[in-house]
């Protein structure tokens, strides 16, 4: 799988998890550089559910101090594509 394909897969998966949390939101107009919270009207409970869904889907531990890095689509992709130790 090429890097582009892998990135697309990750992107689609993140969007699916967001859709589970905010089913009524229009994700096609999502700005990847802006916070989900403002664009999708997520509250802290929604966001917590989102990072827990990432944790389960990608088998990663996300310390609470890293949560801000997962608040945009670009941020999520950067974190999820980075090589893990």
């Amino acid at each position: 799988m090429s890097n582009t394909e892998a990135l697309n897969n990750t992107r689609n998966l993140v969007l699916r998890l967001l859709n589970d949390i905010a089913p009524e939101a229009d994700l096609t107009s999502l700005r990847p550089d802006l916070s989900f919270r403002d664009q999708l009207d997520l509250d802290s409970m929604d966001f917590l559910n989102f990072v827990v869904a990432l944790h389960k889907e990608f088998q990663i531990e996300i310390p609470e101090s890293d949560y801000p890095q997962y608040m945009t689509l670009n941020g999520c992709l950067a974190q999820l594509s980075a090589p893990r130790s």
Partner: protein, 387 residues
Amino acid sequence: MADFVMPTLGADMTEGTLVQWKKQAGDRVTKGEIIAEVDTEKAAIEVESHTTGTIERLLTQPGDKVPVGTVMAVIREDGQPTTAPIHEAARRAAVTTPVHRVEVAPVSPPQTGRLRISPAARKLAAERGLDPAHLQGTGPDGAITLEDIERAGAITEVTKPGGVADRQARMRQTIAAAMARSKREIPHYYLSTTIDMGRAVTWLKQANEARPMTERLLYGVLLIKAVALALRRVPEFNALWKDGAAVRSEGIHIGAAISLRQGGLVAPALHDADQLSLSDLMKTFQDLVKRARAGSLRSSEMSDPTITVTSLGEQGVEIVFGVIYPPQVALVGFGKLVERPWVTNGQVVPRPVVMVSLSADHRASDGHRGGVFLAEIDRLLQEPHIL
């Protein structure tokens, strides 16, 4: 005999529509068990039984819209004879109360023995929330087919009046009625103070570092717990206004204001919030938010709140001037957690602070006691480890 009546699930609910029975005549039911699903102006609610026994008869049909208090079923409590005559009120109600009826196909009584149903049909039934035991199969030897499930699902669907837009409009009306009544009848007074959240925030950060991801706490849970514990000291705010007097409530059931994604809000109860650990309160709260948004709250959650807590800080609001939800006598509102200059020991330091407000019914309490309530919330939030 015990009557199962259309419950009142909110301040201004006057009638409700039976969507479906979760039990049939002859079924055993235990106290707290879901017996019916009822559609109100706000949401579809799972209604719990108040008693343990056997269902003698069902008097209301799915699709019937009946006034609050209408006897919908008769339950034979354990130890009672089986042939007691039908309750007079129940007979009257059964004859006169349906004000709106959507025709639904008859549903066969539950079958005994092994149910003939394919795994695919069983799966679909589970997805639609249907009990195959109560469906009439049209397949070979009465087997329940996918089409039977589809048809039953469609029947359930038509019994729900209107779609999402209709429900939104009705919810708006319900909120309008409750809030207008509140402002018409309740002489509100308002108090507010600023709480230093430095200790609570630091404590929570450390607590969450030690917790697995799935068990981390939200800051809002600390606020709810602090209000619940503070109410033990000022019980006059944990009360309902009934017949010209405030009646103190036995349990502390915090109504947590939850905004719904399609608009509107509900404030279902976190039962006995003062007695739950932060972890249990968090789990209960998560489950409540999920079910509120999915439209599957329980009757006790709708009818039991003894005070409301609302946190509007998420969108940047710094202070809430709340409207009390009748017949409650108080509402506590939290604004956004913000960093502000704070003077401590003669030094100006940046501290995370939150503005808490109390809207209270002046018929039930006075400002002095309201001040004690807010001070107690503040005191508890300075000792987060005891929450």
